[in-house]
């Protein structure tokens, strides 16, 4: 028996090992990789392939024609509108929230910290329902809305609120760890040099937060693009008024417009994927 048995990691593949042990490890490694790849292929890749082939079932031309439907345009515009507003609000307040949670100590901090993770786990149907309880015709805030002549349920504001709810954690959760590891020393230093709180934030803290912030924005945006259940319940899917791209896909399936539905789904998926993967690549290159 040889003196040293090395683990089968790339890192320590320096010492030569006996043929028999080496081949066993190689096969085990191949098996492991094979199992994982097969799982990912069957679970994730296969449905994606089905989506792509469904979208192009009648050729790329048909797919593009389906996407030129004015309903697609207006649904996509609404989706983007809601997503942009959501991102803008969370960019401001989510960063503030992260700042408060990391830099300050106060009673109830643990509760605030826990509560902001909740939207990850709340069912979209429940989100929509809560908003209806608040803003529906028989809702708690109905008299207020009546007085202000505002429509929230079955209108875009309600859908924005729903999207804000489900995307709340992303910004804070991406910025917090960066803020934590950045540490307050440089901020203290800047303050002692005479910088105001605001100046300190913009010129010292924010540049260091850049990637956490950008990642938070991208994740929020991608999640907002794909929201379905909550906007369905609170918005009603009214064609021309509260129909986002996901709700359009839902309707297109009902109308047997399969090419249109799958093509729109592909657009959404690609957009989100490009955003998420693109950001990761940029971040890696930056490093």
């Amino acid at each position: 028996m040889t003196t040293v048995a090395q683990p089968t990691t790339e890192v320590n593949a320096s010492t030569p090992r006996p043929e028999s042990i080496r081949s066993v490890s190689v096969w085990r490694r191949r098996l492991l990789i094979g199992v994982v790849v097969a799982y990912a292929a069957l679970l994730i890749l296969a449905p994606l392939t089905a989506l792509v082939s469904g979208a192009f079932a009648k050729g790329i031309g048909a797919s593009l024609t389906a996407l030129r439907d004015p309903a697609v345009f207006s649904a996509f515009r609404l989706t983007l509108y809601i997503a942009f507003i959501t991102v803008a609000i969370h960019a401001l307040f989510g960063t503030t929230l992260a700042w408060v949670l990391v830099r300050y100590r106060f009673r109830g901090r643990w509760l605030l910290n826990g509560v902001i993770d909740l939207p990850f786990a709340v069912s979209p149907v429940v989100v929509g329902y809560m908003l209806l309880l608040l803003f529906g015709r028989t809702g708690v805030l109905a008299p207020v809305l009546e007085a202000l002549n505002m429509k929230v349920a079955f209108a875009v504001p309600g859908m924005i609120l729903a999207t804000l709810f489900v995307t709340l954690p992303f910004m804070a959760r991406e910025v917090m760890p960066v803020l934590e590891s950045f540490g307050a020393e440089q901020e203290h230093a800047a303050a002692t040099l005479g910088a105001s709180g605001w100046q300190t934030f913009w010129m010292v803290t924010f540049p260091a937060l850049r990637w956490g912030f950008i990642y938070g924005v991208i994740l929020t945006f991608a999640r907002a693009l794909g929201e379905f259940g909550a906007v369905l319940v609170v918005g009603g899917g009214i064609q021309g008024r509260t129909e986002t791209l996901t709700l359009f896909i839902y309707r297109a399936l009902d109308e047997r417009q399969y090419v249109g539905a799958y093509s729109a789904a592909l657009v959404l998926g690609l957009l989100s994927l490009v955003l998420v993967v693109g950001t990761e690549l940029l971040r890696k290159r930056e490093k």
Binding site: R77, A88, K151, A153, F154, A155, V156, R210, G240, R241
Partner: protein, 344 residues
């Protein structure tokens, strides 16, 4: 970099706010907007009717009328309107769902004064089976055969599903189901359970149910006759089977007073509803698989719609939706209890 991003976002939002992504429907002299809340099935029919009406309205009044449409399960649509979906006109699957909106105070007139008791179209409960009818389904009793896979929507959200259940139950009570004694509620309930046992999927609406069937699920779909006919028109190769005894599906339509007054669209909305009862509109309904109540149109389209041996109505058999809804679909309803007992 960040400042330009922020600036772009702000500009984008401002542009969108200015171009207004769907504001309140206020009429000005040149355009008016009507909002229609309907059930899933007549989607194509209204798709054809709306442009015809819009053209006629423009000619008569010189005004453009645009529509916003929503198609959900009848029960779901009724609930949405009550919760605040400001539909000017509602066209639902069953009268009971319109009654719910009236009970909430949103409809203050009696829509039954419209022609044909307020019913703008009718259909019947029928079955869609695979080409060649491999499972030999010809009548209600065949649905209870073990191992059969049935599709029907969920009575919680779909009006069509409620028609289906009542058609089945009514046929059983009338002695039209082989092996089930007439006027025997216990026997009818047992039969209902044996059919429910075979249900594979509860879709949210009638349209979802039939498209699921088209995708290859199940051996038979209980559905509106018009849903099956529309499917066949789009090239689906399933077959329509009409049972010996079935219920007449009557679809109401009504203006929603609260919202038309709020939007100032009463005139246009009432004109649209009147239009739906004209011969021209009724012909369009007939083109999309619906049985017209207009005698002329019905006579003209007789060949498309075979007569049913034993056709009954919700009034005949069940004393209307006021009685039927709590009795069958309430918390202690016959269906509500049956669906639980079947699985246990």
């Amino acid at each position: 970099m960040k400042t330009t991003f922020v600036k772009t976002v702000i500009v984008f939002i401002v542009i969108n706010l200015l171009t207004a992504c769907g504001g309140q429907a206020k009429t000005d002299s040149n355009t008016t907007k009507l909002i229609l809340g309907a059930y899933t099935t007549p989607r194509e029919a209204y798709g054809e009717l709306i442009p015809i009406f819009a053209a006629q309205w423009k000619e008569k009044n010189g005004q453009e009328v645009t529509f916003e449409e929503s198609y959900l399960g009848s029960g779901a649509q009724s609930r949405a309107i009550i919760e605040g979906f400001e539909a000017d006109i509602t066209a639902l699957s069953l009268d009971g769902d319109v009654q719910k909106i009236a009970d909430a105070g949103l409809i203050t007139h009696d829509w039954h004064t419209l022609p044909h008791n307020g019913m703008v179209s009718t259909s019947i409960v029928a079955f869609a089976v695979r080409k060649g009818n491999p499972k030999n389904i010809h009548d209600w009793a065949d649905l209870a055969q073990p191992g059969l896979e049935i599709l029907t929507p969920d009575p919680k959200t779909s009006g069509g599903a409620r028609w289906n259940i009542l058609a089945l139950y009514g046929a059983a009570l009338r002695g039209q189901v082989k092996g089930v004694a007439a006027n025997d509620e216990a026997a009818a309930t047992e039969f209902l359970k044996s059919v429910l046992k075979n249900v594979t999927v509860f879709d949210k609406g009638a349209r979802e149910s039939i498209t699921n069937f088209e995708a290859g699920t199940g051996d038979v779909a209980i559905s509106y006759e018009n849903e099956v006919l529309v499917g066949k028109q789009t090239g689906q190769d399933y077959e329509l089977v009409i049972p010996t005894s079935t219920i007449l599906i009557e679809n109401p339509v009504s203006v929603v007073d609260e919202y038309v007054d709020k939007h100032g669209t009463r005139e246009a909305a009432e004109a649209f509803v009147q239009f739906l009862f004209t011969k021209e509109a009724q012909e369009v309904f007939a083109k999309h698989g619906l049985r017209s109540l207009d005698t002329e149109v019905a006579a003209a389209t007789q060949d498309q719609y075979p007569a049913v041996t034993d056709l009954f109505t919700i009034g005949d058999q069940f004393k209307g939706w006021e009685e039927a809804t709590p009795k069958y679909f309430g918390d202690d309803g016959i269906y509500t209890k049956a669906i639980v007992e079947v699985q246990q």
